[in-house]
């Protein structure tokens, strides 16, 4: 096979770059990771004519080649490194017809790196409506490029773009701006110091290292060449921007005509309501309620279905291979229920990303950021922290992933650290059963005590997130100044194709990234629960048969299972930690539940069910049976294990404790160090322990 054609899609955010990518590649795309960093790498294959294929890379959106976030930095690193296997043969700059002036800044920068460059002018369908007319011939000539007028909404221009890509060799490679005009003396010295290097590339490398910290790169090494201070360099960068805009304005004076009298302005009409000081918040609140409703209510239908299917599958394995012994058990109880524990989250995650991507595609999300920034900033967060915090109510894993667009590292880190306090869906089953157990039924002002308790737990979680953000903000020192620039894009009707692809990709990432860890932990827990040292574990059956009086076979089996668990490794762990959790009102059995919760919090219910001999097929038992067994559970002296005091203590413990290995793993991935997840684990668990302790000791 001949060498594949490399195409890089580059563009400002909100230009419909991803729509162009989707139009070029369809579903022939995959999302991976850039080595060492956590930026999504989206690539796909595009068929050009005559069986020629292009490898298309969708680079993160950026406003210029001077990066201010990790995502943007990927673009620069690729364009500066000719040895990279993805180094583009041709760069496609996607611009939006309404923001052509600003979009062209990036275009001229890429062009100046002497990479063959095609300019895509997207959203050409709105030109008439906005009173914009373009003289393509003039623009092509002045910008030394070829232009494709595209509308991904109307599906026009893609064919022409493919032809341009295929004939990339005929593209002119003239530069738009002679970089040395920024500071002739300085650039002359650069030229002497690095005679074999491209000047503009050198300039980018120098400013990049200053702005973004040292990045290991093979060549050129400019670390020895330092003659300008930080602020001097910045002044030069400003000068560069001014010069580029001069060039662009001259080009557009000839090539673009905007008749504003023809422009119809939807933006200000929508903004008047959506960013209104009162209505803006009311509407946002209603949208939030809808999302909650979807995640809790609508998602339960497919979730129940998944639950029954996997329980049924486990049962089927047991019945079909009854003689498999440990292997059957491993598959039925370890692997199948482990996978079930991952798959069950898919509906919620899909719903969450469905809403988030609709809100983002439509341009509404920026308005929310605008409305909330001031309030969030008081707690050391940013308006952009809101999305992760809301997402956290479904699952902390996608929420932590959603912090990536916060440019400021400190604000991002704080968001990552406090997000797991928000009540994720895995806490819900635990809350439900304990509330049913210890909170009396009854009503106040027509609201049930139990529902109020649940709401209170959500508020406590959110409150603790905000409070700890406030504390962290005071403790953590930062030498970087915070900055906040949010583009307010035009309102658009979301493209169904884009929304669906996002939902699919994000869900897939969750299943494979977090899924691996959840599955591994499930298997470890299964092993710990299925094996034990000594004779007591091995001879459980005969010991139980001798000691207990039983009325039926099932009862005996249940007792044996419980006895085994008590003497398994995990049972021993539970007993070992009992002295530590005793002051919180928990016995060793709850201790096992706590340990098991590390795989996923909702495992708590199932584990307790097993321990309290509800039966080995506990997944199928109704909540009432488990509840009855739990409420009958007593200590040796006859006092109840689950009282109001221990129940509240347990609720608070679950509200605050960091009990999720998957979240820790994702935090490690996003912060690139074990330091933060470990601090998070210790910090959150300490808070949980102290709150549980105080609650139990006071209420006892």
């Amino acid at each position: 096979m001949s060498k594949q054609l490399n195409v890089a899609l580059i563009g400002n955010p909100n230009t419909g770059k991803t729509s162009v990518f989707n139009a070029l590649t369809g579903l022939n795309q995959k999302v991976g990771n850039y080595p060492g960093i956590t930026v999504d790498k989206k690539q796909g294959v595009c068929r050009l004519s005559r069986g020629v294929k292009a490898h298309v890379l969708d680079l993160p959106g950026t406003y210029s080649l001077n990066a201010s976030s990790l995502d943007e930095n990927v673009v620069i690193e690729l364009l500066l490194n000719k040895n990279d296997k993805d180094y583009p043969d041709v760069a496609v700059i996607v611009s939006d017809v309404e923001n052509l002036k600003r979009n062209l800044l990036l275009f001229t920068q890429v062009k100046d790196l002497k990479i063959p460059t095609i300019l895509v002018i997207n959203m050409s369908d709105v030109m008439g409506r906005k009173g914009i007319s373009l003289d393509i011939e003039v623009l092509e000539k002045q910008l030394h490029t070829k232009i494709a007028l595209v509308s991904t909404r109307k599906n026009t221009g893609i064919k022409e773009l493919k032809i341009l890509i295929e004939n990339y060799k005929s593209l002119p490679t003239q530069q738009c701006l002679d970089a040395s005009t920024i500071d002739p003396v300085y650039f002359e010295r650069l030229k002497i110091a690095f005679p074999n290097q491209d000047l503009y590339k050198l300039w980018l490398v120098i400013t990049q290292d200053v702005n973004f910290g040292k990045i290991t790169r093979q060549e050129p090494d400019v670390s020895k060449f330092k003659t300008k201070s930080f602020s001097e360099l910045k002044r030069l960068q400003q000068k560069e921007a001014i010069k580029r805009y001069q060039f662009i304005n001259n080009v557009l004076k000839e090539g673009q005509n905007i008749d504003r009298s023809k422009a119809r302005d939807l933006r200000s009409k929508f903004d008047r309501v959506l960013t209104h000081k009162i209505w803006g918040y009311v509407i946002f609140f209603v949208i939030l309620l809808t999302i909650f409703q979807a995640i809790y209510d609508w998602a339960t239908i497919p979730m129940d279905l998944i639950d029954t299917t996997f329980a049924g599958l486990a049962e089927w394995i047991k019945n079909t291979f009854p003689n498999g012994g440990k292997v059957t058990d491993l598959f039925a109880e370890g692997i199948v229920s482990g996978i079930g524990g991952i798959v069950i989250f898919i509906p919620q995650i899909a719903f969450l990303f469905l809403f988030i991507s609709i809100l983002e595609e439509s341009g509404y999300m920026s308005r929310v950021v605008f409305l909330m920034d001031r309030i969030m900033r008081r707690f050391g967060l940013s308006g952009k922290s809101l999305v992760p915090l809301i997402s956290g109510t479904a699952c902390a894993i996608p929420a932590v992933m959603a912090t990536r667009n916060i440019e400021n590292w400190k604000e991002r880190l704080i968001t990552i650290l406090v997000t797991p306090f928000t009540t994720c869906s895995a806490r819900l089953p635990v809350y439900l059963i304990i509330i049913a157990l210890v909170i009396p039924e009854g009503y106040i002002f027509g609201l049930s005590y139990q529902a109020l308790t649940l709401m209170l737990l959500y508020l406590i979680g959110f409150g603790m997130a905000v409070f700890s953000a406030y504390v962290l903000d005071r403790i953590m020192k930062t030498n970087r100044k915070t900055f906040f620039v949010v583009e307010m894009p035009n309102y658009k009707l979301p493209l169904l194709k884009n929304v669906l692809i996002t939902v699919f990709e994000k869900t897939k990432t969750f299943v494979f990234e977090a899924g691996k860890i959840i599955l591994a932990i499930s298997i470890i827990l299964w092993v710990l629960a299925s094996y034990g040292p000594g004779q007591q574990f091995k001879n459980a059956e005969s010991i139980v048969a001798k000691e207990y009086v039983y009325s039926s076979e099932t009862e005996l089996e249940d007792k044996v299972a419980a006895y085994r668990l008590e003497h398994s490794y995990i049972g021993i762990i539970g007993k070992t930690i009992e002295p530590v959790i005793k002051p919180l009102g928990y016995d060793w059995k709850i201790g096992i539940g706590l340990v098991a919760s590390f795989a996923a919090r909702e495992v708590f219910v199932g584990t307790l069910a097993t321990i309290y001999s509800v039966g080995s097929a506990n997944e199928n038992e109704s909540i009432d049976t488990i509840k009855t067994k739990m409420s009958n559970e007593t200590y040796a002296d006859g006092s109840k294990v689950f009282t109001f005091a221990s129940g509240i203590s347990l609720l608070l413990f679950y509200a605050f404790a960091m009990q999720c290995m998957s979240t820790l793993a994702i935090v490690k991935r996003e912060t690139k160090s074990w330091k933060w997840p470990i601090l998070q684990l210790i910090g959150m668990s300490t808070i949980a322990y102290i709150c549980g302790l105080i609650a139990f000791q006071i209420l006892k």
């Binding site: 002044r235 960068q237 400003q238 920026s366 950021v369 920034d373 900055f483 583009e487 035009n490």
Partner: protein
């Protein structure tokens, strides 16, 4: 004291005269926050912060502390 973007009232316009403070993020300059360009205040969040602006035909929101660094000359319609 010179006039800055932070002094604009809703609906008011101005021309940027100086944006060279080193605390203005480069990204803002690249989005067109440069001397000679027009700026209009479109909307304010509660407590007048952040500010929703149109700078050089780009629509963006910045915090008041940043807006106070960009020196302008108010213009009447």
């Amino acid at each position: 004291m010179s006039t800055t973007i932070a002094d604009l009232k809703k609906g008011e316009q101005g021309i940027i005269t100086d944006s060279s403070s080193k605390d203005i993020p480069l990204k803002l300059l690249e989005m067109g926050c440069l001397p000679g360009n027009k700026v209009k205040l479109l909307q304010l969040a509660p407590f007048s912060d952040p500010m929703y602006l149109n700078i050089n035909d780009s629509y963006l929101a910045i915090r008041k502390e940043t807006a106070a660094l960009i020196i302008i000359e108010k213009t009447n319609e």
